[in-house]
């Protein structure tokens, strides 16, 4: 059977070169980079090489500003909690967008337990934050603004450079969750004007368990992981060198291939974004059509539910998500789609295709072939659809 994996935001395969780079550190070079004897040398060099590679991917001037963590979630928790707590004498107000990843949103909720207040900036129908609204949300006691670079569920890229103009003017620390963008589109901390940025290795074909938080020199942050002196005392715990070197290698390759990858992925993305609504009525594309991640196509298929589509697509060899992989087992409709103004019924029909560098136009052809009968079958079964048909007949 044709197998088409289109769920790269849930998990991406390792690049063979990345796995190669990791192997010595799962073998002979198992030492601890803090060790003063010979066994510490290779892992210590690897660690610092990876730091340089990751810094280069995000245009960071100083590799020491890169702090390795174990997941995008950890980077976001570290940023929200660590940056807010480091400034607790200055104020206790945090601004985020309404469509942040749960790791930002729930970290902010956690801070509420510690007496902080959180304001959510709304988004428009395309999932875009209006920089003016960020400005309006900032108060004298605001210590942190966190606006994601791109949303993993609808692919919309935020106007961060404009937002950072405002936060700079108001002298508020700006963090961005760039887990969905780093390695997918050019990211430069300088051009974005942010003070802290989260990224993870797997989205650009690095290993799971690899991620980082970049924090501009001079910006104070409290550790999330208290303990030893690893990562300059900012993130304790024995380093997972294999994961880190893998992330470094993947960052290096991503920086090299960024443009080419982007062009290829944008092409097959548009093939799907244009093809699906043309083949199936009552399908809406979610997210912005222009300010959009390459390789990201998201839809709401009306009158039917996402998981049922997902399962039927799976039976045709096609792997996709409904909402983000994190929400697919939660019992609530996507907070992202609701914040964009979709109602519950439409939001239930969410379907997310995320393409990777191994995908080909034929993969999209396959999807465009198998989707229409699936949707038709499920609509035939749907009480919502029959009501719609009856209502429309009545109206004619």
């Amino acid at each position: 059977m044709t197998k088409v994996y289109l769920d790269h935001s849930a998990a991406a395969p390792l690049l063979p070169e990345v796995r190669e780079a990791m192997m010595p550190y799962l073998g002979m070079d198992f030492g601890n980079p803090l060790s003063l004897h010979d066994w510490g040398d290779a892992p210590r060099d690897a660690l610092e090489e990876a730091r340089v590679q990751v810094a280069a991917l995000i245009g960071a001037a100083n590799p020491e500003e890169v702090i390795f963590t174990a997941s995008g979630t950890e980077s976001n928790n570290f940023a929200i909690k660590g940056l807010a707590l480091a400034q607790q004498n200055k104020g206790k107000h945090i601004v985020i967008s309404a469509i942040e990843h749960f790791s930002v949103m729930n970290s902010a909720k956690f801070m509420e337990k510690l007496g902080y207040e959180v304001s959510e900036v709304p988004v428009d129908k395309n999932g875009l934050v209006d920089p003016e609204n960020v400005g309006k949300a900032i108060r004298p006691d605001t210590v942190l603004v966190s606006i994601m670079h791109a949303n993993g569920e609808v692919g919309t890229i935020q106007p961060l450079a404009e937002i950072s103009k405002i936060t700079k003017e108001k002298k508020v620390v700006l963090h961005t969750d760039a887990v969905a963008t780093c390695g997918a589109i050019p990211v430069s901390v300088k051009e974005l004007g942010v003070d802290a940025l989260s990224l993870a290795g797997n989205p650009f074909y690095g290993p799971k368990g690899s991620a980082a938080l970049w924090v501009r020199r001079g910006v104070r942050i409290l550790p999330l992981m208290d303990g030893g002196i690893q990562e300059g005392g900012r993130r304790a715990g024995t380093e997972d060198i294999a994961a880190i070197i893998g992330m470094g290698k993947a960052a290096q390759i991503a920086a090299r291939d960024l443009v080419e990858r982007g062009q290829k992925l944008t092409q097959i993305r548009d093939q799907l974004i244009n093809g699906l609504p043309a083949k199936i009525p009552h399908v809406v594309v979610t997210g912005d059509l222009v300010k959009r991640l390459p390789g990201h196509a998201s839809f709401c298929v009306e009158f039917i539910e996402g998981e049922a589509m997902l399962m039927m697509l799976n039976s045709q060899g096609v792997a996709v998500s409904s909402g983000s992989s994190c929400t697919s087992r939660a019992l609530k409709a996507s907070h992202v789609l609701l914040a964009m103004g979709y109602n519950h019924e439409i939001a239930q029909g969410s379907l997310l295709f995320t393409m990777g560098i191994q995908n080909k136009p034929e993969d999209i052809d396959h999807v465009l072939n198998v989707m229409p009968p699936i949707v038709e079958r499920l609509r035939e079964m749907s009480p919502v659809y029959s009501k719609f048909i009856k209502a429309n007949k009545g109206g004619q």
């Binding site: 539910e305 998981e307 019992l331 409709a333 239930q348 079964m381 919502v384």
Partner: protein, 162 residues
């Protein structure tokens, strides 16, 4: 291991008795898009037996499989037998449901029961009274909780305002 049992997958991929019954003797609708699953059951009664059972379902794989299984269990059964179908017995016949799917998607027995109630009310065998029901999944144990604890787990007060 796949998320769903083989039995669930079979009923999901090949649902039995899908459809509507024109001039049904009883119709029962439960669920709501907030919760993600909606089912409408139609029954035809003859001599105290469910001569025909059909349904339409909006929902996940589990919801579709549950509807199909309930229709199979109910079809041909007496009203008393059909009233004894529970979420638990349906899940058992399906060789299990994932934990988080148990409450939200397992509404088939309730929809069927609502169709039976509809029939019983129409035929004067029951008085209409649904005061204790959750408006989203029509679970009976609501007891004025803001969250439908025993049923679909929707936060009712939140869902109403949004």
């Amino acid at each position: 291991m796949p998320v769903y049992s083989e039995k669930v997958m079979d009923h999901f991929m090949h649902p039995r008795n899908v459809g509507e019954i024109e001039n049904a003797d009883g119709v029962g609708e439960v669920g709501n898009p907030v919760c993600g699953d909606m089912m409408t059951f139609y029954i035809k009664v003859k001599d105290g037996r469910l001569e025909d059972v059909k349904y339409k379902t909006f929902g996940c794989g589990a919801a579709i499989a549950v509807s199909s299984m309930v229709s199979e269990m109910a079809k041909g059964a007496t009203i008393e037998e059909a009233q004894k179908i529970t979420p638990e017995s349906v899940a058992k016949m399906l060789e299990g449901l994932p934990k988080q799917k148990f409450h939200c998607s397992n509404l088939g027995a309730q929809a069927l029961n609502k169709a039976i109630d509809d029939y019983l009310i129409k035929t004067g065998k029951l008085k209409a009274d649904d005061s204790k029901c959750c408006p989203f999944c029509d679970h009976e144990d609501r007891e004025n909780d803001p969250v439908c604890q025993q049923g679909c787990q929707v936060n009712i007060s939140e869902a109403k305002t949004s």
